[in-house]
């Protein structure tokens, strides 16, 4: 079989002891740096990129992929342990993961993330090996109109993320969308809300905003209830999953993997969309619906699987079309060009050893990650037993460096500080931060694609319903909206108990 011989070719590259070693070093470095609060995958890869310059192309890319997986897992680890998502797709992991950690179930949450990710990574890699070109063709079907409709669906789904008052959740989404308009308007080149600050021309940085609103703000809340805190974090019980846990996560992992594998193919935010679409879906489907937001294990399993499956399939546009779908992939392309390989549609036929080597190494990278991280869970969990008055200054210190490292500029440190204030004010008023952050991420994409579609159609709004794909996404969005609103009208919402 053709696939088999291709995979053998890939294995002969990926399983070279040297390459296995580089893959392992990559995972190790990625985890080590990515687990520092404030250092997400993009920052980690950018910092570690120069290390790979001296390596042969295959090893360099395998190592970079390892760094990517490691950094991503590291980002989820901080989301669970200290409510600090390292990247956009772990925002949702933080919601229930952090609550699990507070309930003394950090070990189970981390194990769920590791195992769910591994399963999703394996499935997505197989999918990548079998169906990369047809999946890439699907990605090409998504033009500006389809993206706009997808973003609308995403926004509607994100309403479901909130556990409290519906108008308040919607207000947060809108506020997030508004924050997303800061910076140079892509279509006209006009600066908006920049107040002559050059750093604002590129908009507010996601990592800085989320560190302020989630991480630093969480510290503020903990310091306020310092006496109670020792009570609120329960004793760590059991690092591993119980039989009941396993039963509960099978469904979410499977559904998350499916959703993530598909959405990850779409360039520009697919994987991120997948992580919270799957959360929203589980919140609807799960029999333990009431537990969501208070530490439901499904709320960790689904987004983490979706996230990792998406991370895997986000290689598809780059490997089959030569077009990077997100900043991380753009860095990979940069590394490839520096190695003398310009990625393009012909990479599969021109560089089969590289292509199949990468695919096989994706799987081996995921395997190494799980081998590396399962034993480490004990260590991470023990970190929570460090007295809080020693832990929180260290978190703030790393957050400051992390914010600085985004653009090698202190401006992002100020942004972080500013948003810790905003986040604190919002939490006092009982507004939830997660919908705000999702609005902030989706906003620019929503606006860009809306206006781009209108530009291409010469101002004809029927472009959104003429394309069957776009139409069906919009119809689906309406259905979801009705489902979300329906119980909201009849049932009195449990506002005060959301915290």
């Amino acid at each position: 079989m053709d696939l088999f011989s291709n995979l053998m070719l890939g294995a002969s590259t990926a399983f070279l002891p040297m390459n296995l070693l580089y893959g392992f070093i990559g995972c190790l470095l990625g985890t080590a740096i990515g687990v520092l609060p404030g250092l997400g995958p993009t920052a980690t890869i950018a910092m570690l990129l120069p290390i790979t310059f001296g390596l042969p192309p295959e090893s360099a890319l395998i190592m970079l992929a390892g760094i990517f997986y490691g950094a991503q897992y590291g980002g989820s680890t901080t989301a669970i342990l200290i409510n600090l998502p390292g990247e956009s797709s772990s925002v949702v992991t933080a919601i229930d993961g952090y609550q699990m950690a507070r309930n003394g179930r950090a070990g189970a949450a981390l194990a769920t993330a590791a195992l769910g990710s591994f399963f999703a990574g394996t499935v997505a890699t197989i999918l990548l090996a079998m169906a990369a070109p047809p999946l890439a063709a699907v990605a090409l079907k998504f033009g500006p109109a389809e993206y706009f409709s997808l973003m609308v669906l995403g926004l509607v789904a994100s309403v479901a993320l909130a556990s409290g008052s519906l108008p308040k959740a919607m207000a947060m989404i809108v506020f997030g969308l508004m924050l997303g308009t800061v910076g140079t308007d892509v279509e006209s080149g006009t600066p908006r809300y920049v107040f002559d600050i050059p750093e604002l021309y590129d908009g507010l940085n996601f990592v800085a905003v989320s560190m302020g609103i989630f991480g630093i703000c969480e510290i503020l809340r903990n310091l306020e209830n310092e006496q109670e805190r020792s009570v609120s974090v329960k004793r760590v019980t059991g690092l591993m999953l119980t039989k009941d846990d396993v039963k509960r996560i099978v469904g979410p992992v499977l559904r998350g993997t499916a959703l993530g594998s598909f959405l990850g193919v779409l360039p520009g935010g697919g994987a991120m969309l997948a992580s919270f679409a799957s959360y929203a879906m589980e919140k609807r489907l799960s029999p333990n619906r009431a537990q969501f937001g208070k530490g439901a294990i499904e709320g960790v399993a689904a987004p983490e699987s979706a996230n990792n499956a998406g991370a895997q399939t986000s290689f598809i546009p780059m490997l089959t079309l030569g077009i990077p779908g997100n900043p991380v992939m753009a860095l990979m392309v940069g590394a490839m060009i520096l190695q003398g390989i310009t990625p393009g549609p012909n990479v599969i036929s021109d560089e089969p050893a590289l292509f199949w080597g990468m695919i096989v190494s994706m799987w081996s990278g995921n395997l190494m990650l799980v081998i590396l991280n399962l034993p480490l869970i004990g260590l991470w969990v023990r970190m929570l037993t460090v007295p809080y008055h020693l832990l929180f200054p260290a978190i703030i210190g790393f957050c400051c460096i992390g914010a600085y490292s985004i653009n090698n500029s202190v401006f992002d440190v100020f942004v972080m500080a500013g948003f810790s204030f905003v986040g604190f004010a919002l939490s006092k008023l009982r507004f939830e931060p997660a919908p705000l952050l999702l609005g902030f991420i989706l906003g620019p994409m929503l606006e860009e694609n809306l206006r781009r579609a209108m530009l291409i159609s010469q101002g004809d709004p029927t472009i959104f319903v003429r394309s069957p794909l776009s139409l069906s996404l919009l119809v689906f969005a309406v259905v979801v909206l009705v489902l979300v609103l329906a119980p909201g009208i009849s049932r009195k919402r449990d506002e005060a108990f959301t915290e």
Binding site: L140, F142, T190, P198, V333, G340, R452, L455, Q458
Partner: protein, 327 residues
């Protein structure tokens, strides 16, 4: 045995110390300490790549560390602002591009550094031609002449993508429009990869794109290349004619060069310029750059200065003619 090894190590260490102490004696000879090379764009991009390649060679030739520092943001303005504010002693130098050093002067109403003082140009390093690519299903034209005739027959109906308002890719399209009087709709994206993706998919009709990535799409038959925007033919696409052969004088390249802060002593600029020229003339380096689709260009400080003045004037004209809003 062991003793011998220790002695050898000691000798090596002594030699290293002596070598390390060497430059201390000649403290007045530039460079006597680490030099920072500011790259005003993110790691992994073109400018970063060229900056790193040259820094690595300067390191070897001048015996001091040349460290690349990425300061991305606001189209290069943030890094260049830092560069302009640093001490003009030759220990901080930086990369600049057609966007950051010739277009932004007009595009931005204010810059975080003085437009008059500018920078001391050291040398041009590399120039990347753009290539005009069209989606073969949307545009039947196979030559630039046919394309112009076609676009004239349906004014305003067709779209071209770019990597953002005011980028060299956008202005290449505007240059074509103003020189030929055609009307097209500009569809800006954030960066060129999303843009070329939509041209490949047929959501947008055409685009000028940097050659290394576009050449791959052309070779795979996903898009059709009509012309390159350099005055000479491009090594990666030798069969594609130049825009200048249809529209005389049409040139829109994305160039990258090395700069020093204003007021850097001329002898230091001169020394660095000579070194960079030698580095680029080196056959191995030349081959490496050409394989990336880049035209390696070394130039003296004065040549570079004149070139920048010419480019700034050209793009200012296009920005005014096309009514690009100033930022």
């Amino acid at each position: 045995m062991n003793f011998k090894r220790v002695m050898t190590l000691a000798a090596v260490a002594a030699a290293l110390v002596a070598a390390g102490g060497g430059p201390g004696r000649a403290a007045d000879v530039y460079p006597s300490k680490t030099v920072t090379v500011v790259v005003p764009f993110a790691a992994g991009g073109n400018t970063d790549t060229f900056g790193r390649l040259v820094a690595e060679q300067l390191d070897k030739r001048l015996g001091q560390r040349f460290i690349v520092e990425n300061k991305p943001g606001a189209g290069g303005n943030i890094g260049l602002g830092d560069l302009a504010r640093s001490k003009p002693d030759g220990y901080t130098i930086g990369m600049g591009t057609v966007s950051s050093n010739a277009i932004n002067q007009t595009l931005y109403k204010t810059l975080p550094y003085s437009k008059e003082k500018g920078f001391e140009p050291i040398s041009l390093i590399a120039s990347l031609p753009n290539v005009l690519v069209v989606n073969p299903d949307k545009i039947k034209a196979t030559t630039v002449e046919e394309l112009i005739a076609f676009l004239k027959s349906e004014p305003g109906k067709h779209t071209y993508a770019s990597s953002g308002v005011g980028t060299s890719i956008h202005l290449a399209g505007e240059l074509m429009a103003t020189k030929t009087g055609i009307k097209m709709t500009h569809v800006p994206y954030k960066g060129s990869s999303q843009a070329i993706l939509d041209v490949v998919a047929g959501h947008v009709d055409m685009m000028f794109d940097n050659i290394p990535t576009a050449a791959q799409q052309v070779k795979a038959g996903k898009v059709r290349a009509l012309a390159v925007t350099s005055l000479g033919k491009a090594t990666l696409l030798p069969d594609v004619p130049t825009m200048a052969s249809v529209i005389p004088g049409f040139e829109a390249t994305s160039w990258h060069g090395l700069f020093a802060p204003p007021g850097t002593p001329p002898e230091i600029v001169e020394k660095l310029s000579k070194e960079v020229q030698a580095i680029i003339a080196d056959p191995a380096m030349k081959a490496k750059l050409e394989a990336m689709g880049v035209t390696p260009v070394g130039s003296t400080s004065t040549e570079f200065k004149d070139f920048i003045a010419k480019e700034t004037a050209k793009w200012a004209g296009v920005i005014q003619a096309a009514n690009v809003p100033l930022q």
